[in-house]
Structures are given as structure tokens and as C-alpha cells.
Amino acid sequence: MAGIDKARNAHVFTEVKMRKLTRLRTVIRKDWQLYSLLLLPLIYLVIFKYGPMIGNVIAFRRFVPGGHLFGEEWVGFHYFKMFINDPTFWKVFTNTLMLGGLTLLICFPMPIIFALLLNEIKAKKFKKFVQTASYLPHFLSIVIVAGMILQLTALNGSINVIVEFFTGEKINFIQQAEWFRTIYITSDIWQGMGWGAILYLAALTTIDDSLYEAAKIDGANRWKQTLHITIPGILPTIITLLILNIGSFLAVGFEKILLIYNPLTYETSDVISTYLYRVGLESSNFSYATAIGLFESIIGLVLILTANGISRKLTERSLW
């Protein structure tokens, strides 16, 4: 009996499978043009996005330059042990946490404050003028930004004119490790504040005016209105952006740092990505650098999943 049942089940199973397949076939035959549009983008994703993910395998294999693309032999966690025992790794890890943390703490709230201030402006032309000016830095190449940073902080640059006026001395900002974080954070605010405010300004326009009217009748002043209506109104936007920012917490401005740091400031400026750049591409230690990179990516992924999960539980808002 059991044998017959099994045979019948198998038969039913294959029949269902067959039916699904034929349905898929008819769908594709009918709509093959639509599916053909997917072909190139999917090939692109597989080669250029998923390919390098698989390429991460050389973090577990010994790679020899000029040798096989996926390495020569399995070495297990050898390269991971290497960076765990590498004091430079821990220094750059700390630097990354510091810069990421400062960015989250200082640079993240700036666009919100800026948007709130701008929202109080009723004169349309002035508002537009401020906005237009504040977006501008976002459109510059990071190379130009680096050029401007170096120029402003140079010994004969504008900032030193002010410093000298007050203290009588000049500071060689770009060659002193203790100034690096200030320069990095300040320039980040400069680049991103105006642009970052756009989303908040958009969110502000969706807040119902009648809420403000009601609050006014209840005797709430402008500050109270901001606290109880405006900020809750843009909270969903804030949370979404916060999750995204937490996810890219470790991905500090690699390109900018690469352009403005130098051995004199490594103590504070060298981060995971710049270190792995030097280890990998300047010293050709590909497997080691890949292990560091993989570690960084996994932390990023875990962070965004965690932040998203917590947000879903606490605020019922999430990215997906």
C-alpha cells in the first residue's frame, strides 16, 4: 500500500511541478519581451555585484598575484586571525568607530536642525536663496572638496588668518593628528547639511496645518508647536534615515580620507578602508585585505539588519 501511495504522491508531485513549469513557460512565451528586458541587468548584477561577493572567498584562501582568481589553497581563518592580532588593525578600527560615531552624533542631526530653522522662514525668495546655496557643495567632486580643505587649512589659508589674528600663531592643521577629526567632521557638515535637509523639508510640507491651528487655540507657542507637532511629524523620515546611517556606520568617507590624510595624521585619520587599501593595493596582500573588507561588510550588514529590526519593533517603521 505504502509503495503505491508513494508512487502516487510522486506522480502528483511531478504533475504539479510540470503544471507549474508549463504555466511559467506560457507566461514567458507570451511575455518574452518583458523578460528579455531583464536579461542584461541580471547579467550585470551577477557579474559585477554578486561576482565580487563570491570573490571574497580569497579571504579564506591564499591568493598569489598572477595566480588563480580564487586563490591557491584553503587557509581557513588564517587571515582573520592575522588582523585580530594586528595592532594596526585595532587602531584603524577604533579610528573608524570614532569617525563613524562622531558623524552619527554631529553630522546626522544638522540637516534636521537646518530644516527646522529654514521652515520658520516665510519669505519665499530668501528661503529659496538659502536652499540653493546650501545644496551646492553636494555637487562637487570629492577631489575638489579635498582641494578646498587643503587650501583653507593651509598655513597661508583663510582659517589661519583668523587663528593668527587671535593667537598670533599659525597652525599646520593638515599635518597634525589632533586636528584631523575636526576637519573631517566640519567638511562633512559643509558638504551634506543642505542636501540632507531636502527630505526633511519635504516631510515638513506634509504636516497638516490644522494641527498648528488647534495647538494655537490651546495656547501652544511656536516652540511647543515644534516640539509636539513638527518633530513628531518628521519622525518617520528621521528614523528611516537613521537606520540607513547606522548601516553605513563603518563606511566612513573613504575617498575623502584617502585624499586628505598623510602619514603624519595616521594616528587619527587611518580607517579600516584606507588601511585595507594600503595593505591590498599598495602592498599586494590581497587575501589579507579581503579578509578585512569582508569583516567590515558583515558588520555593516549586521548593523543595518539590527537597526531595522529594532525600529520595526519599537516604532513599527522599517526599510522593508
Partner: protein, 289 residues
């Protein structure tokens, strides 16, 4: 109202703060422009802030006469045009296909794409891949690896999703195929989002330097950002050697750097006032999702 006096004071302060912000935002630009027109002696004395001192346009002539600068400038234009074209083609077909509800596996395919936003292969595997594909010292290393921005694709996808189905159905009734519908019905109705995407991609390509830095080592293939980067990094660019009498190379280059920066920003500054509204609407579109 009682609080109106406090609020009035706040409003005055607010305008003041915003003006300070605007000044700080624009200062680096004005400073670069001022230095580009100044003579090196005043720059190195720290006397050039907002107004050019020792007015000179000699440096502009030097940079403009540098053949390599124009070769690199032309490369930037080529990379931007080709790269934007490829990106637009890939992004549009991908977003259009994913926007159709009848597409089997739509959810999976979207996730397949979105996952790459949160996890990527990292610098070294990418580097090895590009070199193994033989892209080293070719334009493909610049325009292919970043061809699709998933973020842009999602913006476009949600735009297509919000289009009325009836139009496409009617066209299909008339015997138009999917390609025809996309080209003749959907795209003409999507000018706003297409313009935004073109701008996003074009600015990205115009400003990009790192792929060129990694994958190109022939001077005549560099984009202008690398030309500038090499100047900033202290390497002697073509213009620098041409202008100096070998003694004060570093001092001269402060002025040349400014000129090069101004010339590189110029195209963006020229189109910025006209296209700004598209950028803003693009970000808003993204926020709808």
C-alpha cells in the same frame, strides 16, 4: 499673543544664523575664485580671502594652454556621456520590467537587486574582477562597474508603477509590443524622472575619480579629476612644470590648483541654477518609496 516678542527675536536671529550658514557654504568657492585670479605672492602671504590681489590671468592661460589638461577634460566629457548613456539604458529596462505586476518572481528579483545596496564584494574582489575582465586601462573600467545605481532604479520603478495601466493596455490592444510601449508610450510620459536620473548619473560620472585612479595608469586616459588629484597630491602636473622656473614649485601650484578647480567646477556651476529643481524633485521622488 504674549510670546510674539520672543518669537520675533528668534526670527531675527534665525535670519542671521541662516545668513552665516550661507556665507560659510559659499566662502570656499569664493576663496578659490579669488585665489585663481591672484598672484602667488599674495596667496602665500595669506592675504587672499574674498577679493583677488595682484590680479592676474596668466595662470588661466598656462592651464588652458596645457595640452594634457584638455585631453583629460575631454576624457571626462566622454566618460560622462558614455557612462550616463549606459546607466540610463540599463536602469530604465530594469526598472520597467520590475514595475510590471504580472512579472513572475518580481519580489525575488527586486530583493536580489536591493541586497546589493547593503552588502557588497569589497574593494579587493572588485579590483581583481575588473582586471581579470581585461578592463584595465580601458573606458569600460570607468563606465561599467557602477552602471546601475539600485537607488535610482527604485526611484524609476516606483515612478513607472504609478503610471496608469490603461494607456499601455490600449497600446497593446492596438498590437504594439512591449518594446514599442516602453519607447513610444512610457518614456515620453516619464520625461521628468528621466531628466532627474540623467542628471544624477551625469554628475556622478563628472565627479568620479576613484575608479580612474584604480584602473587607469596612462596619463592620456585620465579624467580631469585625476589631473587635479595629482596636483593636490603634490605630483607635478604638466601645467606646473610648464609655469615654473623650478624654484618655487609648491608656491606656484597653489595658484594653479585654484585655476584648475575653477575650470573643473565651471560646467556644474553653469548648469546648476537651471537643473537644480530636477535634483530636488528626484530626491522627493525617492522619499515617496
Amino acid at each position: 499673543m504674549q510670546e510674539s516678542i520672543q518669537y520675533k527675536i528668534f526670527k531675527v536671529f534665525n535670519v542671521f544664523i541662516l545668513l552665516v550658514i550661507v556665507f560659510c557654504t559659499l566662502y570656499p568657492f569664493l576663496n578659490v575664485v579669488a585665489q585663481s585670479f591672484s598672484s602667488e605672492a599674495y596667496i602665500s602671504a595669506g592675504e587672499v580671502n574674498l577679493i583677488p590681489k595682484g590680479f592676474n590671468i596668466e595662470t588661466y592661460k598656462t592651464v588652458i594652454e596645457d595640452r594634457m589638461f584638455w585631453i583629460n577634460y575631454k576624457n571626462t566629457v566622454v566618460y560622462t556621456v558614455v557612462g550616463t548613456g549606459i546607466s540610463m539604458f540599463f536602469t530604465t529596462i530594469f526598472a520597467y520590467a520590475l514595475s510590471k505586476r504580472r512579472l513572475v518572481g518580481r519580489r525575488f528579483l527586486t530583493l536580489f537587486a536591493v541586497f546589493t545596496m547593503f552588502f557588497n564584494g569589497g574593494l579587493i574582489p572588485n579590483y581583481l574582477l575588473i582586471n581579470n575582465l581585461g578592463f584595465h586601462n580601458t573606458i569600460w573600467a570607468i563606465v561599467i562597474p557602477g552602471a546601475i545605481s539600485i537607488y535610482n532604479m527604485l526611484i524609476m520603478k516606483s515612478f513607472f508603477e504609478n503610471m496608469p495601466d490603461e494607456l499601455e493596455e490600449a497600446a497593446a490592444m492596438d498590437g504594439m509590443n512591449t518594446y514599442g510601449i516602453l519607447l513610444k508610450i512610457v518614456l515620453p510620459l516619464s520625461k521628468a524622472v528621466m531628466a532627474t536620473m540623467v542628471l544624477f548619473y551625469a554628475v556622478g560620472h563628472w565627479n568620479s575619480w576613484f575608479p580612474a585612479f584604480l584602473y587607469l595608469d596612462q596619463k592620456d586616459l585620465f579624467p580631469v579629476t585625476i589631473y587635479l588629484r595629482n596636483m593636490i597630491a603634490g605630483a607635478t602636473g604638466g601645467a606646473a612644470t610648464g609655469a615654473t622656473s623650478a624654484d618655487n614649485l609648491i608656491q606656484i601650484s597653489a595658484n594653479i590648483k585654484s585655476v584648475t578647480m575653477v575650470l573643473t567646477i565651471l560646467p556644474i556651476l553653469t548648469v546648476y541654477p537651471f537643473v537644480q529643481k530636477y535634483f530636488v524633485s528626484g530626491v522627493m521622488l525617492g522619499s515617496v518609496k
